[in-house]
Amino acid sequence: MEKKRAYSLNFIIGAVITGVMLVLILTGFIHTPYDITKMDSTAKLAAPSLEHLMGCDNFGRDIFSRVLKGMGNTFTIAVATVAIGAVCGVLIGAFTGYFGGWLDEVLMRINDVVFAFPSILLALVFVSIFGTGKYNVVAALGIAFIPSFARIVRGEFIKYKDMDYVKSARLAGVPKLRIIFVHILPNTMPVLMSSIMIGFNNAVLAEAGMSYLGIGVQPPDASLGSMLSESQTYLFSAPWYAAFPGLMIILMVLGFSLLADGNTKRV
């Protein structure tokens, strides 16, 4: 019975929001209504209008175009971050969980150390050593995201490694790598998928935070976080400047949260 209600309401709403977001992001990659760095002194802090859907910023740049581009930047960074975190985390988690032993001890203690630091702090340290910029932020956040994935996957592997089907596979002489990646890993997918989605949300927020601090995407390029940061001075005179990038961050995170939520319920 439970399986019949395959898609919860949350999941559907989440999917719709995320779908719309993805369409906007794709549009941003292909085409923006205005050049995102094109300044127009006659349209400084212009209110939303048909010409400029979300108004203009303090340089007269079209906020809609910048939001489109900014979402793209934020999205790419978040995806790359989660990809690094998830791939490395799965590998570490799988091996340590399956084999255990001293390697497990060492890696997990390192993991604890990394996990003990807030990821933004870790990323800040990384950036202060290697410099600012999009790619450094991806690397920094990616590394900071590894421990959470590693722990989750390790836990799952410990749960599954002594189950009968694994034991019998082992007795049948199936190579260890095959056991790890073909027999056990697919079983961790539900949990992994949820944590990837939550991780993605965290990455979006982290990127926004980093850019807000001015160490992510460099001006005049845009990201949602950097736009929020730039807009705070104009919070009262041009509220739309802050509102739209903020709204987009909320929608992006909300969409994925609902997806993740629906996903867990479905399983």
């Binding site: 760095t37 094109k38 300044m39 002194s41 400084k44 303090n58 340089f59 007269g60 807030p118 990821s119 933004i120 702090l121 800040l124 202060s128 410099g131 600012t132 910029g133 959470s148 989750i152 949990v191 949820s194 944590s195 939550i198 949300n201 965290n202 927020l205 982290a206 935070g209 807000y212 601090l213 001015g214 160490i215 460099q218 001006p219 005049p220 705070q232 001075t233 104009y234 009262f236 005179s237 939520d261 867990t264």
Partner: protein
């Protein structure tokens, strides 16, 4: 799982908030270190008006009606030290200016006026300065200022009491003698035209010789005395009624630390603060009718400073092309509502006789000309470079974005890289590891050398690696003329220096930025100085 996720989100939020607080707190008011690095090198004209006696000791006027007057002033950062000789930040020194005084001090015209001293004479060779102590002058604790206090203070700054000289230019001091109770004789190792200007900085302030804890109990001779301080919160000052000069008007001053620049508007509107110097045009626009916004100049030269030693900026034509491509008025319009003074060389209008307004017209925006210059230089298709901009100065970041956009017109791509102020100091300013940077360079004294000495090819603070023989010659001539006390000639050579900088397009000069001071209606008297100084004693209350 989800729980873990939620906790993670919480941790993340908490850490974000934390880092935000820390980072934003760290951002504001970081002008300090930069200024202190700029202080090191001062060389120029300040010798002519020896023995100036302008003792203004009008007896404390009737202040009874202002007996309980009070003003709260927002400052961008806490004071880094209450000991004048140890203070570093320009933001600290501009406050200490009200508590401490040197033998001389600058006035709002940029002249040096006698303070703790009442006058001085200088020998022909410029080596021996004889100061007369002001009669009846007192410290805040009621003790009279003695020549021993002066000797102690100057010797401490000069490192004659053991230890390193606190003011590097004071290592030039040979000895400090006190032949009688009213006279201080300072002997220099070699004559220096900037000695008086440096003597008048707040670092060289006169403090009691027996003061053992200035950090917690500052004692000076200024118009305001220190009352109390709460770290990172506020500093309380009270009018010093036995002040030798014209007493201050307002009885009590609270300096409130507003580390978060975004809270300035709210603090003003909410009534927590009455006066904030250096608000942005955007902040000023948000303030409304309760405030008057005074407009002055920041007294600095904002420019895209180019590393003249790296490709392609070692090519004069390339630099000129950039100058032709940049439209200063457009920058002003975008960044500060048109406010600010475009400048064409390393000199700003407050310098008066040294400043040449016409240099601003050498490069009127001309895209075609810029393109053809680039083509001549071998970059017909333009090039791309990185502009490192300190991340705590929104105005510089904004300007950089406009410049980058303007340079696109001639096919030049400027990639902006925001860096921390500390990194800027160590890598760009000291390490000279940059292609271009966009900052403001200010002067610690109103001597031409404060702006121009750094462009000598062998200057230790020549961070742009500018190297021009004509310039070096002109600068040497100016120094020679000064040593010969020929001020007109010296001025002429300094002007030649400025002109060379402009003609060779040493940097893409932009503007002297406008300084906006927000003052609550009911207060008046804010006085702009041509230096980085805030004079609280001139503030008063209007009905």
């Amino acid at each position: 799982m989800t729980k873990r996720g939620q906790r993670f989100v919480k941790v993340l939020f908490a850490s974000m908030l934390l880092t935000l607080t820390v980072a934003l707190g760290g951002c504001s008011g970081d002008k300090e270190a930069g200024d202190s690095t700029q202080i090191a090198d001062k060389t120029a004209a300040e010798s002519s008006d020896a023995n100036a006696e302008t003792g203004t000791s009008s007896e404390a006027a009737d202040n009874t009606e202002e007996a309980a007057s009070h003003i709260t002033i927002g400052i961008p950062q806490d004071l880094d030290s209450l000991v004048p000789s140890l203070s570093q930040g320009a933001g600290t020194q501009e406050v200490l200016f009200n508590i401490y005084e040197g033998l001389y001090k600058p006035d709002s015209e940029g002249n040096l006026i006698p303070a703790v001293a009442s006058g001085y004479t200088m020998t022909e060779d410029g080596l021996v300065y004889t100061f007369t102590l002001r009669e009846g002058i007192q410290f805040h604790n009621g003790n009279p200022v003695t020549v021993e206090d002066v000797k102690y203070s100057i010797e401490t700054c000069a490192g004659l009491n053991g230890g390193e000289p606190v003011i590097s230019a004071f290592s030039n001091i040979e000895s400090v003698e006190t032949p009688d109770e009213q006279t201080i004789v300072i002997t220099l190792k070699e004559s220096s035209s900037s000695f008086m200007a440096i003597l008048a900085t707040v670092e060289a302030a006169i403090v009691p010789a027996d003061a053992d804890d200035l950090q917690n109990n500052p004692v000076g001779t200024g118009p305001y005395k220190f009352v109390s301080r709460s770290l990172q919160e506020n500093v309380e000052l009270e009018r010093f009624d036995a002040y030798w000069g014209e007493p201050a008007h307002i009885q009590n001053i609270t300096l409130k630390v507003l580390a978060d620049t975004d809270s300035i508007v709210m603090n003003l509107q909410g009534g927590a603060v009455d006066l904030v110097a250096r608000v942005s045009t955007a902040q000023a626009a948000e303030l409304g009718d309760d405030f008057e916004v005074l407009e002055g100049t920041m007294n600095l030269v904002q420019a895209m400073y180019l590393n003249n030693a790296v490709e392609p900026f070692n090519n004069e034509k390339v630099r000129q092309a950039l100058c032709y491509a940049v439209n200063k008025q457009e920058i002003l319009d975008f960044v500060s509502e048109g406010k600010g003074t475009p400048v064409g060389s390393s000199m700003f209008p407050a310098f008066g006789k040294y400043y040449i307004d016409e240099l601003n017209d050498i490069y009127t925006t001309d895209i075609e000309k810029a393109k053809s210059l680039l083509a001549e230089a071998g970059y017909p298709d333009g090039f791309s470079f990185t502009m490192r901009v300190p991340s705590n100065y929104q105005q510089h970041i904004d300007t950089a974005q406009v410049v980058a956009e303007q340079l696109k017109q001639i096919g030049v791509t400027a990639n902006i890289e925001l860096i921390e102020w500390e990194t800027w100091l160590s890598d760009v300013y000291q390490g000279r590891d940059f292609e271009a940077t966009l900052v403001g360079v200010d002067a610690s004294t109103l001597t031409a050398g404060a702006m121009l000495s750094r462009f000598r090819s062998d200057a230790h603070n020549n961070f742009t690696n500018y190297n021009n023989e004509d310039y070096d010659t002109a600068y040497a001539n100016a120094l020679a003329a000064e040593a010969a006390s020929d001020d007109d000639k010296a001025t002429e050579y300094y002007k030649e220096c400025e002109t060379i900088l402009a003609q060779t397009a040493a940097n893409v000069y932009i503007q002297d930025m406008c300084e906006l001071v927000a003052v609550r209606k009911g207060f008046a008297g804010y006085t702009f100085y041509p230096l980085y100084i805030q004079d609280f004693s001139k503030l008063y209350i209007v009905e």
